[in-house]
Symmetry: C2
Subunit: 263 residues, 2 copies
DNA sequence: CTTGCCCACTCGTCTATACGAGTATGCCTG
DNA sequence: CAGGCATACTCGTATAGACGAGTGGGCAAG
């Protein structure tokens, strides 16, 4: 037998309303969450309890949950229950994150920054290989046919948060330390400058969308979590694009920050 | 009787697979869309047709559609069918969009830019009033209690794409043209500079998330479309924050672009 | 005490059915 | 010919039931 819900926690349905029953239920749950009646990580009433409380069928209750899942408010765990989705700590990316002064240390910016924030950083899925440039990458790098691709995935406290691929023209990267799995202190930007490509500026393009199934898998994304897609192009002082970095980030793990001159 | 589907358009189910039937159906539809077998705006097979084709119940087919809706790939229209969601034309926001040289004309940047792109721009829901500052806005403006709020919604070709609110300290804005519905040529930034607050730089914070029900309504968002939440703070040459602009954009209508110095 | 099993509870998947409501089309009537 | 209605098709909502599978606690056997 399902124990009945604490009275007052959730209201009743309005049979005179035009609003669909499953939406009314979703509304009540959403409001209860917003008001803090259910805290982050806390378990919502089970499907059976809500079926009893509202006197509706189970599919109707599930329909309500699927609305909230689509909004990224809750997530279901098989065998356990439906929980209020906790807001994970976010990583703030400042627009000066590629400044030279941040490039002195031996470790990558990601590692240094994560340590400072008290989290446990990790990089995996390293792949470095030459391949055919996609149409988009080719256009951005100035009609290059083949490129060196550096793929890696970033994790914070075991959770994957970002998947990035850098593309570099072969005439710049081939045979250098950039083509090695470990590009050395200061990362590939430091190597590029040593190779005579002094960096002048970056261009970043940002869009947000729902993830593809592959991205859901790679980033372990919950339902209702969008991704931020960022494409950065690095230009040297001669105006030549020397790297394109394609990054897909779990949107709930990031806040991007930019500083713009008013010029 | 439902006409049967063109053979070869969609495959069969794999009963030996662990993958749930509704996921297999979603996979096949997604692949067909990706391969261009269904074009943008084109109608997918109706629920009844898929029921016949796969020999499953209608709820299973609907479940597949709801997966694709959550991914933002398709949208359903009551009484008509399920359609491949067209990618709307995107609005590119460049990081120099607030440069003084773009501030000369009589019309707002939004209008000018949209006209240049050949679309029909519109601004509505104008509201200008004094109100209590939220905690966040107060913190960003430097512990201000009350602010002037300027709310407006932007539309392109009749479609709402952005909802923005500017907050300004009362000691700056009260009694000036900034407090009028029409702030005059060059917008409020031009007025701020005339008032002696020469702008030095902007700070923008960006995150992406699923929209709240209110945002779905205001921006007429389809299922599976995230929003980009952008908060811009404008600083004058004395380092004082003179405006905070809180913007929520339909993510499928925007690409943001930034240029960063390599310093 | 520890191990292992069973059971109760949870969500996941799927079927079958019913009715409602929006849309488009074609036919029939005036 | 024009207007309106009937109808068939679309998706939306809701019910009732069945079985499967993951989880965790309690109980019984070793």
């Amino acid at each position: 037998m399902s124990p009945s819900l604490p009275s007052g926690l959730l209201g009743d349905l309005d049979p005179t309303s035009d609003r669909a029953v499953f939406r009314q239920i979703a509304d009540q749950l959403r409001e209860a969450i917003d008001r803090g009646r259910f805290r982050e990580g806390e378990k919502l009433p089970s499907e059976a309890e809500l079926v009893d409380h509202y006197g509706v069928s189970r599919m109707t209750v599930r329909n309500s949950f699927s609305v909230l899942q689509g909004e990224g408010l809750v997530h279901a765990e098989h065998g356990k229950g439906v929980f209020v989705r906790p807001r994970p700590p976010v990583r703030r990316l400042a627009s000066d994150r590629f400044a030279r002064r941040h490039r002195e240390q031996g470790k990558s910016a990601f590692i240094v920054e994560a340590n400072a924030a008290g989290s446990h950083p990790q990089v995996d899925s390293l792949e470095v290989k030459e391949e055919k440039a996609s149409q988009d990458v080719s256009a951005r790098l100035g009609s290059v046919r083949r490129v060196l691709a550096r793929r890696r995935r970033y994790l914070l406290d075991g959770r994957p948060v970002e998947f990035a691929t850098s593309y570099l023209p072969l005439d710049i990267a081939r045979g250098t330390q950039i083509a090695e799995p470990n590009p050395g202190p200061g990362g590939i930007y430091a190597r590029l400058e040593e190779l005579g490509h002094r960096l002048d500026h970056f261009e970043e393009e940002i869009c947000a969308r729902m993830p593809s199934p592959a991205e859901v898998k790679t980033l372990h994304l919950a339902a209702g979590v969008p991704v931020i897609h960022l494409i950065r192009t690095a230009f040297d002082t001669e105006g030549r694009p020397v790297e394109v970095c394609d990054t897909v980030m779990a949107a709930d793990a990031y806040v991007l920050s930019y500083q713009l001159p008013a010029t």
